[in-house]
């Protein structure tokens, strides 16, 4: 009986590749990506994992790994495999997640995420291809380039005084507590290739059993960018790379590691309300009403004028009245004196974007804000501004009203409550269709715990609302 030993776990043909040679890889002759692809594919097939597996292709020569692996596939932005892998692993608990990354992708742009994911012990098998050089972009120096190694960007050899020393990823990751398995392997002779095969299998068995993070660094030849023939490139791996990066298993806790079970995420409303101490009576579920007009409000001023609070009070009111609502602040780093604005969107449907690029209503508390945002009011929209700003050339087609906010606040007994005065005017003129009583409840909630402040703000609100009702902007 004849048995044929052949590639498994990879597609038979690669139609995603396009072009005429759809049975060949896009890799250069002698490149070892194909060797690693075959070993991963074989292990996945042997372990029966293909249907559970998502392979994440990086940016680099292996950007097209999804042409080849007969598994689920996704290709991600440069260095982001650890972050995307985390997302996949946490949403699909049973997924076998493989991140396949080169030295530029993993050890340079993706270093932070790589370490964070390893430190969290994410259930990911990471295959880290270290060939000491950037391949796809044409042979530039990598973090892993050897001291003295010539590349396009280190033409006289890597000088550690200029460019530091080769980065030892496996050793770096082995400083962390969470990873289950860490190994460094190469294909520079058959014995080492067979050890690599075992390490790859082990990393995937750990994923099969959901035990956690496995990191396999694979030293590889890149004949093209090392400008060597295949034989010399492999000798470079065995004689120089392996001297800098010793092969071996740095950690194997696969025996004692248990299947990692994380608590289910619970995003139910009642759970969130409890965790955030939300009073459900004051934040009832919004009522769907597609016929209701969506109103976008922009409020702007300098920090300390209560611009963000003004928005919160309006948003609380709309929320308590059963509207869908968003409140979206934007402010500088200054606690006082910087500029601040917020957008409030009130709708009868879920709010798609909280960003207010064009406002139905603008409330401007100082001149820079007024001048900055006046042009963003929709035709027929309402622009109300702090009368203390003085003369202002209003844009055409917009209803404009100067509000003596400071005077109204003073009369109401709280000189600092100009913002509440503006809320009162909005209640009268904003066209939001929200009951006055709900505004008063929102003010009481906003200032709760400070009874005198609540009373003052209620007085300012009422005074301003009555004043506003008499105006014709």
């Amino acid at each position: 009986m004849e048995k044929v030993i052949q590639t498994r776990g990879l597609y038979k043909t690669f139609p995603r590749k396009g072009g005429s040679a759809q049975t060949a890889t896009h890799y250069c002759p002698g490149c070892e990506h194909g060797v690693l692809h075959k070993l991963i594919g074989e292990a996945l097939a042997d372990l029966g994992l293909q249907d559970r597996t998502v392979v994440i292709s990086p940016v680099g020569c292996s950007v097209f790994a999804y042409y080849y692996f007969d598994t689920g596939n996704i290709q991600v932005a440069h260095g982001r495999a650890a972050a995307v892998g985390t997302g996949i692993s946490r949403t699909k608990n049973d997924a076998v997640v493989i991140s396949y990354q080169g030295d530029g992708d993993l050890a340079s742009i993706g270093l932070n995420e790589t370490l964070q994911a390893a430190n969290r012990g994410e259930k990911i098998a990471v295959f880290f291809v270290n060939n000491t050089v950037y391949g796809m972009t044409g042979g530039q120096m990598a973090p892993t380039t050897l001291v003295g190694e010539k590349t396009e960007t280190s033409p006289e050899g890597r000088d550690p005084l200029q460019a530091g020393y080769p980065l030892h990823m496996a050793e770096l990751i082995s400083q962390l507590k969470a990873p289950v398995y860490i190994a460094r392997v190469s294909f520079s002779n058959m014995a080492k290739l067979r050890q690599a095969r075992q390490a790859i299998r082990k990393a995937l068995e750990i994923q099969r059993d959901g035990k956690g993070y496995a990191f396999v660094e694979v030293l590889m030849a890149c004949p093209t960018n090392q400008k060597m023939n295949v034989e010399a490139a492999i000798r470079f791996v065995s004689e120089q790379m392996e001297a800098e990066y010793p092969l071996g298993v740095l950690r194997d806790r696969s025996g004692e590691a248990k299947t990692l079970v994380r608590a289910e995420s619970d995003y139910r409303k009642e759970t969130l309300d409890r965790l955030l101490h939300l009073d459900t009576d004051r934040a009832p579920d919004a009522k769907l009403d597609p016929s209701a007009r969506t109103v976008s409000v922009k409020m702007a001023g300098f920090g300390g004028q209560g611009v963000l609070s003004m928005g919160v009070i309006l948003a609380r009111t709309a929320c308590a009245a059963g509207k869908f609502v968003s409140w979206y602040p934007s402010y500088g780093p200054e606690q006082r004196g910087g500029t601040a604005n917020c957008g409030v969107v009130i709708s009868g449907q879920p709010v798609g974007s909280p960003v207010v690029a064009e406002a139905d209503v603008l409330v401007a508390m100082n001149r820079p804000s007024l001048e900055k945002f006046a042009g963003e009011v929709k035709p027929g929209g309402l622009l109300i501004y702090n009368a203390a700003i003085g003369e202002f050339a209003a844009p055409a087609g917009v209803r404009v009203l100067a509000v003596p906010a400071q005077e109204l606040a003073k009369q109401g007994g709280s000189p600092r409550a100009s913002n509440t005065a503006m809320v009162g005017v909005l209640a009268a003129l904003g066209g939001f269709g929200l009951p006055d009583a709900v505004y008063r409840e929102a003010i009481a909630t906003h200032f709760s715990g400070k009874e005198s402040v609540v009373k003052q703000n209620e007085a300012v609100f009422e005074l301003a609302r009555q004043w506003g009702a008499k105006q014709k902007p």
Binding site: V4, I5, Q6, T7, K12, A24, T25, P29
Partner: protein
């Protein structure tokens, strides 16, 4: 696999001339030195490795070092295969 493969005694490597990129890794990895680089070009413009026709011991070295997924399959006796 290719026509060339048929007729060999087990075990033997079936090398698809079209898929070979002439990197020579199989030749270097063969302990019995029964693979050589041919002289002809395939349709994609590469020379390609050829099995000499006898002497294969089915060690699979050529299969595992070959980077092209579709270039080498090794036919072995099922009884002796691991």
């Amino acid at each position: 696999m290719s026509e060339q493969a048929s007729g060999f005694k087990l075990p033997y490597p079936a090398i698809d001339p079209l898929e070979c990129k002439a990197c020579g890794r199989c030749i270097a990895a063969c302990p019995k030195k029964v693979i050589r680089m041919g002289q002809k070009l395939n349709a994609r413009g590469y020379t390609f490795a050829e099995y000499l026709g006898e002497g294969c011991i089915g060690c699979l070295n050529c299969f595992y070092v070959c980077p092209e997924p579709n270039a080498i399959a090794v036919h072995v006796d099922a009884k002796e295969a691991r």
